[in-house]
Amino acid sequence: MRKSQALNLGTGTFMLLGFAALFFLTTQTTSHGLTLASKPHYQVIAKFDNIGDLKVGAPVSMAGVEVGRVANISLDNREYKAVVVMDIDSRYNQIPSDSDASIYTQGLLGGKFIGLTAGGSDTYLKNKDHIDFTQSALVLENLIGQFLANFGKSSSSDASKSDASGAAGAKTTEK
C-alpha cells in the first residue's frame, strides 16, 4: 500500500511537471499568452504607400513603448496603398488625431514595426479612425538605388570641382 502511494506520488509529480512544461511552452515561449486580443482595444487604420515586410502581429509603439499590434494588412484596390489596421490597447486612448505613423526596422536585420509620433490636436483617435499622416517603410533596395544615383551625381560634380580647383591650383602654382 505504502509502495503504491509513493508510486502514485512520483507519477503525479511527473505528470504535473510535464503538463507545466507544456503550458510554459505554449504560453511563455510564444506570443500567444500575451496577445492584446483578450484585452480591451480599439482599432485605428492607416494607409501607407509601401509597408516593406511589415507582418500581422508586429508591434505598434509610441515613444518606444508598445501600445498595440498590427491586426490586419490589406491592399486598397483603388489607391494601390497598403491598408494597415492596428489594435491599440484601450489604456492608451489619448493619442492625438493628427499623430503620424511611420514604419521602422528593429535593429539592422530585425522585423518592421509601426512607430506613432504624437501630434498636437486636442481630439483623440477613436475606434475605426484613420491616421492621415503616414511615412512608408524604408526599402533597402530603393535606398541603395537612391544612394548610388546621388553618389554618381555628387562624384561627377566633385570631379568637375576638383578639376576646377586643380586648374586653379595649377594657376596659383604658376603664379
Binding site: 503504491s4 507519477t11 511527473f14 511537471l17 510554459f24 510564444t30 535593429g107
Partner: protein
C-alpha cells in the same frame, strides 16, 4: 548474384517486420477499451517510463541547451545578432532537438527496460502462464507499457525543451552577456504556436513508435538469454532509425 539475393532477402525481411509491427499495433489497439479500465497498471508504467527517465532527460536537456547557447552565440555574433539567441535556441529545441533527443534517450532508458522485461517474461514462461490462466497478456502486460510510453513521451519532450531553453539562457545571458530582455522577448515574438504544436505532434508520434518497437521486440523475443539481449539491441537500433526517419517525414509535412 548472392549480393543481390541478400539485398532482396533483407528488404523482404524488413518489409515483413514492418507488417508484423503494424499488425501488432492493431491488435494492441483492439485491446484499448478493456485496457483503459485498468488505469492503475497504466499509472505504474507512466512511473516506470516517465518519472524514472526524468533525471536523465533533464540532465541531457540542460547540456544540450548549454551547447546551443555557446554554439548559437558564436554563430550569431558573426552577424551581430546575438539577441536572436533565444529564438534560435527555442525553435531548435521545441521543433527538433526536444522531441528527437528525448525519443533517442527514451529508447535507451525506457525502451530497453520494456523490451528486456517483456523478453524475460517470455523466457521465464510468465506470458505462457498468463495465457493458461485465460488472462490476455496483451491487455494485462503489453498495453499498459505501451500506453505508459505514449503518455510519457510528449511530457518528457516538453520538459527537455524547457530545461534546454533555461540551459541556453544560462550560457547566453549569464555567461556570454546577451541581454536577458531581448533573449526572452525575441523568443516570444518569433516562436509561433505552430512550432510548439509541431514539437508536440512529433513527440507523440515518436512515443507511439518507440514504445511500440520496444514492446514488440520484447514480446516476440526468443526465449533465451541471448534472445533477450538481441531484442534489447534491436529495440534501440530500430527506435533510433525509425525516429530519425519519421522526423524527416514529419518536418517535411509541417513545412
Amino acid at each position: 548474384m548472392t549480393l543481390l539475393h541478400d539485398v532482396r532477402e533483407s528488404f523482404l525481411g524488413s518489409l515483413t517486420r514492418l507488417g508484423a509491427v503494424t499488425r501488432f499495433l492493431l491488435r494492441l489497439l483492439r485491446q484499448l477499451p478493456g485496457g483503459l479500465k485498468r488505469w492503475e497498471l497504466i499509472v505504474a508504467q507512466i512511473f516506470n517510463s516517465g518519472a524514472l527517465s526524468l533525471v536523465i532527460i533533464m540532465l541531457c536537456g540542460l547540456f544540450v541547451g548549454m551547447v546551443l547557447g555557446l554554439q548559437g552565440y558564436q554563430l550569431l555574433e558573426r552577424f551581430g545578432s546575438e539577441d536572436a539567441l533565444g529564438t534560435a535556441a527555442a525553435i531548435g529545441l521545441v521543433k527538433e532537438l526536444g522531441p528527437v533527443l528525448t525519443a533517442l534517450l527514451f529508447a535507451g532508458r525506457a525502451g530497453t527496460a520494456l523490451a528486456s522485461e517483456l523478453g524475460l517474461m517470455r523466457a521465464t514462461d510468465q506470458i505462457s502462464a498468463m495465457e493458461m490462466m485465460a488472462v490476455d497478456p496483451l491487455q494485462r502486460v503489453v498495453l499498459p507499457r505501451f500506453l505508459g510510453g505514449v503518455i510519457a513521451m510528449p511530457l518528457l519532450a516538453a520538459i527537455f525543451s524547457i530545461v534546454g531553453i533555461y540551459g541556453a539562457q544560462l550560457i547566453g545571458v549569464q555567461v556570454m552577456g546577451v541581454d536577458s530582455g531581448s533573449f526572452w522577448s525575441q523568443m516570444r515574438s518569433s516562436v509561433d504556436l505552430k512550432d510548439v504544436n509541431e514539437g508536440i505532434v512529433k513527440s507523440f508520434v515518436f512515443g507511439v513508435t518507440c514504445s511500440l518497437i520496444a514492446v514488440y521486440e520484447g514480446y516476440h523475443a526468443r526465449p533465451t538469454a541471448e534472445g533477450v539481449g538481441s531484442a534489447t539491441t534491436r529495440t534501440v537500433v530500430t527506435s533510433a532509425v525509425a525516429t530519425l526517419f519519421l522526423d524527416y517525414l514529419l518536418t517535411a509535412a509541417f513545412l
